[in-house]
Subunit: 143 residues, 2 copies
DNA sequence: ATGATAAAATAGAATTATTCTAAGTTAATA
DNA sequence: TATTAACTTAGAATAATTCTATTTTATCAT
C-alpha cells in the first residue's frame, strides 16, 4: 500500500470525501521528497486542474496534517514546507538556495535536556535543523 | 561591557547612528531571554517612544542581525522570534503556550550527517528544536 | 555653537503568506 | 436519481513583513 492508497483509506475512515482535487494533491505529494510549499503544490496542481484554488490546497494540507499524514517543516523562516514522509526525521537546508534534504537518523539518545530545563519543560520531541551548502551551490562558476 | 555597550561600540564601528529609538531597542533586548517577536518589541518601545514605527523596529533588528549581534529564531511557524544571545545554543518551545526556553548544550559531536547526506551537503551548522510542555501548562486547573 | 548632509525615523502603502467567507458544486449515500 | 453535508471556488480579509516617499536628526566639519 503506497502513500496515496494509505491516505485514501484514512480519508474514508475519517469520513472525508475523495475529490479529484484531493486525489491530485495526494498524487503530487506521493513519494515527494522536495519539501514543497503550498504554492509549489498549487502551481503543480494548476497543470491538471486549472481552476483549483489556493483555499483547497491549504484546506487539504490542513486535513492531511490533522490526520497525521503530513508534516509541516519549520526550517525556512519565510514560508512553511510540507513533507508527506511522517517517519520522524531531520532536515538540512542549503543556506544559499534553500533546498532541503532529509536526515533519517535518530539523535534522541544524545539530545537530552540539562537538569534545569528538564525541571521546567516536559520533553515531547525534537527536530534538528542542519545548515549547509548543497553540491550545486558549492560548484564554482554556477549559472 | 554589557550587551548594549558592546553593541554601541559595534554600531559606531559600522558607522551607524545611535538614535534614541535604537538605544531603546537595545535596552529592551539587553539580557532579554523571552525571545520576543518584532511586535513584542514594538509594544514595549511604544511605552517610552509612542511615535516609534514598525519599520524602525524591523530596520534595527535587521541591522543588528547583519552585525551578528542578534539571532533570528525559527522555531515558531507563525512568526519570527529574536534573541540577543548570540552564543550558539538551542531552544525548547512549549507546544501549548509557545513560550521558548534556552538550552546551552553543544550537541555537535553527536549531530553528524550520514554518509550520503554528507556527500551532498557541506555542513555549516545545526540547531535543535525541542518540543515540550512548560511547567505552567502542565499545572492542572490553569486560569 | 552652527550648518551641511548622509543616515535614520516615520506614516502609510505594498507585498506575501495564509485564513476566512459566502455562494455555487459534488461525492457519497440511500 | 434525489438528497445533503461536505467540498471547491473566487475573492475578501488578516497578519507579518517590507517598501516608499517624506521629514527629521545624529554626526561631523567648520
Ligand atoms: Mn523530510
Ligand atoms: Mn535563545
Ligand atoms: Zn544550494
Ligand atoms: Zn506552556
Amino acid at each position: 500500500m503506497n502513500y496515496t492508497e494509505n491516505i485514501i483509506s484514512k480519508y474514508r475512515a475519517h469520513g472525508f470525501k475523495l475529490t479529484p482535487q484531493r486525489l491530485a494533491i495526494l498524487k503530487c505529494l506521493d513519494g515527494n521528497t522536495s519539501h514543497p510549499t503550498a504554492e509549489d503544490i498549487y502551481i503543480e496542481l494548476k497543470k491538471t486542474h486549472p481552476t483549483v484554488s489556493f483555499a483547497t490546497v491549504y484546506n487539504t494540507l490542513t486535513s492531511l496534517k490533522d490526520m497525521g499524514a503530513l508534516l509541516e517543516v519549520t526550517i525556512d523562516p519565510d514560508r512553511k514546507h510540507f513533507d508527506p514522509n511522517t517517519t520522524p526525521h531531520h532536515h538540512i537546508i542549503c543556506t544559499k538556495c534553500g533546498s532541503i534534504g532529509d536526515i533519517f537518523v535518530d539523535y534522541s539518545q544524545a539530545l537530552t535536556l540539562p537538569e534545569d530545563v528538564g525541571a521546567e519543560f516536559f520533553l515531547t520531541g525534537n527536530h534538528v535543523d542542519f545548515y549547509g551548502l548543497c553540491k550545486r551551490c558549492r560548484t564554482k562558476g554556477q549559472v
